[in-house]
Symmetry: C2
Subunit: 557 residues, 2 copies
């Protein structure tokens, strides 16, 4: 049975009015702005009332490096939330919003799977409450205002060759990576090189996810550097005098969205930067609300612990003003065997050898997370083809690192399949969490990058392209070097080479460029060949999608 079929079947019979879900966590009907019967945004009044409420416990779910075999991190996050509720804990889930680009391409849903899903699945995966579209609109309105400034006399003396602000679409469209715009004569703009990113890679997405409230959003937007003058002085959104307009376009997008799991656990789904090209975490406002509305907030960071995990801990945590009490690392036997060199088609065959080889990847992530001095639990997302011997091997190997590993079957069983994991997490939550950041933000940029490369990736050196060094010089001249680092790196490997699986060492990370994101408050370090605009595959998922005359969707997953 497909995820969409399970969702459609259960939504019909099981989904509760969103006002009931809100009531479970103390939200009145007035606290919610309904979008249909099963989605709602938290009102500003509700957010203001929550502002000074105490926090519950925080569980961060992250994973090993993703493989084509699938890890199911969102599925485990949802299943863990459901299991905690079955254990009579007041758990609230906080997830990211899916991006349409990969939905149309090949990624599949970001709403969990099987019986561990958030619903309404179709809505969440398509337009949801319009946050992604509002962001796209704001990103491109800002770009239009920049190009209009050039066209109308360029009072600020902006150098068209040094504009950092890219346009965005929530689409995988490689043809928009590099272009020349403004052609066609003096009435149609100033010709210049330009580029579109996927919306989730835009700084504005990061800004929305890191803003503490509307006032902070506005402050952050005003600080965004859109490019440089001919004299290489930075130009900000504030100087363009459009802070108000851009903030206005995001007035509703900043409000977290409330939905439910198939088992009626409340879930806040809000913000969705990718973890390879951005910081990979859902919004601070949603996570904070989950911490205030629940006794335990279960949240997820994108891709592996080297990307979303590290960025959650070093970028989001300082803004959130709450550090995780437990980190759950998701792994599958299949993915570890793939990491151990087994071919995709063979993964259903037992192989303790490949598992042992691939365990190096999990081991590295466990040790990485332990550096932060937060209790770690491993969740083994069990597939039917996993043998008992393989699972036993994994549990034992983790045990030897002092970490509890727990098999779960939440895809097939929902929360019931995650009860052991819930128990292990509850046990871990009793242990002390003495969070220690990986690096000191006051160190210089190269030192911070080297720390991440050495301590998280396991690499030896960092090599900088000429362009990166030029950018770094500008960053230092402007005094922006005391910001945290947001690495843009392939998700498939701990290194910057997607083909190096397992736990590579001794490699050199290649830095192509460094971009200041003053609104987000970090520096984006571009490594390897990672792209801020994905492409579509030869057979995009879109080709298999359909909708009936009655509005029933198929082929979404």
């Amino acid at each position: 049975m497909l995820d969409i079929e399970i969702a459609q079947e259960n939504e019909k019979t099981q989904m509760r009015p969103i006002t009931e879900i809100g009531a479970q966590i103390g939200l009145s009907a007035d606290d919610l702005e309904n979008y249909g019967k099963s989605k709602a945004k938290l009102s500003f009044d509700a957010l203001n009332r929550l502002r000074d409420q105490p926090f519950g416990k925080l569980v961060l779910v992250t994973s090993i490096n993703p493989t084509p075999a699938g890890e199911g991190k969102s599925t485990v996050t949802v299943g863990l939330g459901d299991a905690l509720n079955q254990r009579h804990q007041k758990a609230v889930i906080a997830l990211r919003e899916p991006s349409l680009g990969p939905v149309m391409g090949m990624k599949g849903g970001a709403t969990g799977g099987g019986f561990a899903q958030v619903v309404p699945m179709e809505d969440i995966n398509l337009h949801f409450t319009g946050d992604m579209h509002a962001l796209t609109s704001a990103v491109d309105t800002l770009a239009a205002l920049i190009d209009n400034h050039l066209q109308q006399g360029n009072e600020l003396n902006i150098d068209p060759r040094r504009i950092l602000w890219h346009r965005a679409l929530d689409i995988n469209d490689r043809a928009l990576r590099n272009m020349v715009i403004g052609m066609g004569g003096p009435l149609s703009g100033v010709p210049r090189e330009a580029s579109f990113d996927i919306t989730v890679a835009s700084e504005l997405m990061a800004v929305l996810c890191l803003a503490e409230d509307l006032a902070d959003l506005k402050q952050r937007i005003s600080r965004i550097v859109i490019g440089y003058t001919y004299a290489k002085e930075p130009v900000t959104v504030e100087q363009l005098q459009v802070t108000g307009a851009i903030t206005m376009l995001l007035r509703d997008a900043i409000k977290p969205n409330l939905v439910q799991t198939l088992e009626h656990t409340p879930a806040l789904i809000h913000g969705g930067p990718f973890a390879n090209i951005a910081h990979g975490c859902n919004s601070v406002l949603a996570t904070r609300s989950a911490l205030q509305l629940g006794d335990i907030a279960v949240t997820e960071a994108g891709f592996g612990a080297d990307l979303g995990g590290e960025k959650f801990l070093d970028i989001k945590t300082p803004v959130l003003k709450k550090t995780p009490d437990t980190i759950v690392l998701v792994a599958t036997v299949r993915a570890l065997k793939y990491n151990g060199g087994m071919a995709l088609k063979d993964l259903t065959t037992e192989s303790l050898d490949h598992l042992q080889q691939g365990f190096a990847n999990l081991k590295r992530h466990i040790e990485n997370m332990q550096q932060y001095h937060v209790p770690v639990v491993v969740a083994i997302n069990r597939f039917t083809s996993d043998t008992d011997a393989e699972v036993a091997y994994l549990v034992d190997a983790c045990q030897q690192l002092g970490v509890t590993a727990v098999p779960t079957t939440v895809w097939g069983d929902g929360g019931r399949g995650g009860l052991d994991l819930a128990d292990a997490v509850l046990e871990a939550l009793k242990q002390p969490s003495n969070f220690t950041p990986l690096y000191d933000v006051n160190q210089d940029v190269k030192t911070k990058i080297q720390t991440i490369v050495t301590k998280i990736y396991g690499g030896a050196d960092v090599q900088y392209d000429a362009k990166a060094l030029q950018s770094l010089k500008l960053i230092e001249q402007n005094g922006w070097d005391k910001l945290p680092i947001c690495m843009a790196k392939t998700q498939y490997s701990l290194s910057d080479d997607p083909k190096q699986l397992g736990a590579p060492t001794g490699f050199t990370v290649h830095v192509r460029d460094i971009t200041p994101k003053l609104g987000a408050g970090f520096l984006v370090v571009m490594t390897g060949n990672v792209l801020t605009m994905p492409g579509l595959p030869k057979h995009p998922a879109a080709l298999d999608m359909d909708v009936t005359a009655d509005g029933v969707i198929s082929g979404l997953f």
Copy 2:
């Protein structure tokens, strides 16, 4: 007092829950999909139930050529609906959705003004229920799939130089009119010339507005010609195998949106093509629903009667399967004096001479509409600076053409200021309407264009560029010539030269190109310098917009 201040003040105290507004016209809570407390979409169940319901009377509101002086067509439409309700008629209003491009640029709201507004004003003018964003997303997803087809081997043999499908953004951005995309080497697409239109100009907007239901939407999308092969054979969306995916993205956008006026008259706001570069009418589904839910539906067509009016009557009416029972032509003393050659700054001074000169414009539009054999009423949208003598002159001049002209003061007085107009409309509705189309769609393309130019614009000749003739040849070869004509022409003049005010004659209309829009079911004829992507002015409205920490918006208008 600004429109936004009146709206904000009254929304707080007066706005009713949208379920109450629905109940007024027989819609249950289950018929509505709420978007917040004051917006809702009509569900498919509701639309299915309405399918075979009888129609009420149809009032079409159109106007003279717009001027910088302002005509207030939307304001009069809203005020007329309110006034009809004060006269105990069950009136339902059907309007277009505003586009963010002009909102950020200079146009101002599309939600009426003063005490004749639809609310919530801010929401409707910004993201509303996401229809415009869903369209943008669908347009650009289709474009990405086309470029991906080129990239992945180009099985259909599409000629990259002959792609008709443009990307779109709901933004005024002249720098995106002409560009070269796909640069940067073999991994980043196939280089080709490309273009963005404003979303409201996209064929997909017209398709959404003309679709009778989801099945028809799908049919129309499948027929869209996205370009030609190297052998000049047309390539359709169906051949790309993405009809299902694109339709799926519009599954919710096709449902009409229900809001209310400040006086609680139900208003369906849905679809928003511009009338200069597209067909300029709100959706068939919304107008039809208004006709079925009310005894009188009051709807509006974009810009002047030469554009939105003509297109409503010759393009929308055959699909709607309902012809107007009365046409209301909106004029202002100011705009007519401007048409008579008076400078903008002098318009507050009485001048019967300029008014008499400018009346030629109104006279032409009256006579044009009378050609359709539908009763015509003129609404004089009165400004405080209009003198009694000026208004009396206008009433008298219309009387001599056999047409009732009625002053209204709905901006300042709401429905109360439109009671005389409502009475005149109710009187007109008692007269027979013997609708006669302007041209026979089975005539050849040049004949149909000449008919519009002669009978509506008052022009003498049509001149075709070489490109237009080439396109026409392809259209005829493919048998697409029996379709209605959608003229793309400046809104400021009856001619294709925006500077020719009043009622010019003897001019030649220049046709630059003709584009087949098989999904919409018409041929777009590009004249003069009309552009499908507007630009921003030197001081865009965006520069004066703001939002407070509590979410209160200012500077929107």
